[in-house]
């Protein structure tokens, strides 16, 4: 028992702690007990946003224009595919590859950087699908609260993601 705990703690202290906080706002569309589309809004914390805005708002006009949006999409957003966009979609406990996001739009609002994007053409059974939000490397903390979720017809259950190496959240449709 003691050895297990010591080993667990040793493994844990080797992992990093989060430096960026992202609030996740999912908008879930359901049709006939199937999730057909999810629109996500990620709100980055103000300090990380300021660092990114300084770099990404290249003309300094306080807005993300079309070229800047393309640059962010190609250089900052799409590389997150390696991290499954910090979102594991599991169907009957099997993790699926995160669908390619569409309609990506970055914007600056109240000194914060927002990423808006959709995943469409889904046919996910609401009873067997779970969404786990978190960064396994623990550099980014994904924050999800029940009040962040918008959903039609049904209700969403948000719970803590039980993981020994990082902290995250789980969303299930009820």
């Amino acid at each position: 028992m003691k050895i297990t705990l010591i080993l667990l703690l040793i493994c844990n202290i080797l992992f990093a702690h989060p430096h960026t906080f992202i609030e996740v706002y999912p908008n879930v569309s359901i049709h006939n007990d199937k999730i057909t589309k999810i629109s996500f809004q990620w709100k980055l914390d103000e300090m990380s946003s300021s660092m990114l805005i300084m770099e990404l708002d290249q003309n300094g006009d306080g807005k993300i224009d079309k070229d800047e949006n393309t640059f962010i999409y190609e250089n900052y957003f799409m590389p997150l595919v390696d991290y499954n966009f910090y979102t594991d979609i599991s169907i009957q406990e099997k993790v699926k590859r995160f669908p390619t996001p569409s309609n990506f739009k970055a914007l600056i609002k109240n000194n914060r950087l927002y990423y808006n994007f959709d995943i469409t053409n889904l046919q996910l059974d609401i009873h067997t699908t779970k969404f786990d939000f978190g960064d396994t490397d623990f550099f980014v903390a994904m924050i999800l609260k029940k009040e962040f979720v918008t959903i039609n017809e049904r209700d969403a259950k948000v719970s803590d993601l039980d993981n020994d190496f990082y902290f995250g959240y789980r969303m299930e449709i009820q």
């Binding site: 080797l14 702690h17 020994d164």
Partner: protein
């Protein structure tokens, strides 16, 4: 039947401790999330009318942020803990070590942030990631060297104990340098945020106070490790060098782990 009940009880106890640990991790994240938001809002609200009080408040929050930030998982505490597992020391030394690391951490973060911002100017995030990776490689290399040195010391102390004190001081500085050289992205983010808002002096002070908070937490990790060493040392009696060897091996493993994680990030 009693045997099965005993296993069940032990299993439940283990699960309960894991659950407690997960809750601890969650509270740490939520606290950092709130402090992060609070500190940015307060820095932005800084004006000529309220500069002194607000600045003091910001420094107070930065200290707390450092305290909590360092309580999360990280290689600095692991190195200190393993080092003191490998070396006999008192609590004063743990504080000395914690604060040496935090001073180097603060200097490193300030140099990196101002350097990238004013010399390289563009692509802060990209430059920051590249430079962090280089610093991490240097740190990992140094950690492996420290670990090898500790193993050598443990082997030697078995035969020649009187030389240990003089050598140990040197390894203390090496440990502090290898843990502190990697700038903390948390400190750098606050400094950069202050630079963007043209609060340069406040940025420097915030980096220092945040590092003081981190130093305190790192010192506590050292104290815990010294306590463990004392208890285990008494138990092992004259075979205490075994623990010192284990500590050295763990430091080497930590360095290797850091090397392997650099490519992944």
């Amino acid at each position: 039947m009693i045997f099965i009940l005993d296993i069940e009880w032990r299993y439940n106890k283990q699960m309960y401790i894991l659950e407690l640990y997960n809750q601890f991790l969650k509270q740490l994240i939520m606290l950092q999330y709130q402090l992060n938001s609070y500190i940015s809002t307060t820095i932005r609200s800084l004006s000529d009318d309220n500069s002194l009080l607000t600045s003091l408040l910001i420094l107070g929050i930065a200290f707390l942020y450092g305290l909590v930030h360092a309580a999360g998982p990280g290689h600095g505490k692991a190195l200190v803990a393993f080092y003191f597992t490998s070396n006999k020391a008192n609590y004063k030394k743990a504080f000395k070590m914690g604060y040496m690391i935090s001073i180097i951490h603060a200097i490193s973060a300030l140099l990196f942030t101002f350097g990238i911002f004013y010399i390289l100017k563009t692509m802060f995030r990209r430059n920051f990631n590249e430079m962090s990776a280089i610093a991490m490689q240097i740190s990992a290399g140094m950690i492996v060297c420290v670990g090898v040195y500790l193993i050598y010391e443990a082997y030697k102390s078995k035969k020649l104990k009187e030389l240990q004190i003089e050598k140990q001081n040197k390894s203390e500085y090496a440990v502090a340098l290898s843990a502190g050289i990697v700038p903390c992205p948390g400190v750098m983010t606050i400094v950069l945020f202050c630079i963007v808002l043209k609060q340069y002096f406040l940025g420097i002070l915030a980096a220092i106070t945040m590092s003081i908070g981190m130093g305190l937490t790192i010192s506590l990790a050292g104290i815990l490790s010294i306590t463990l060493h004392k208890k285990a040392g008494n138990f092992l009696d004259k075979k205490g060098f075994i623990l010192e060897m284990i500590g050295g091996f763990l430091v080497v493993l930590l360095g290797i782990f850091l090397f392997s994680s650099i490519g992944h990030r």
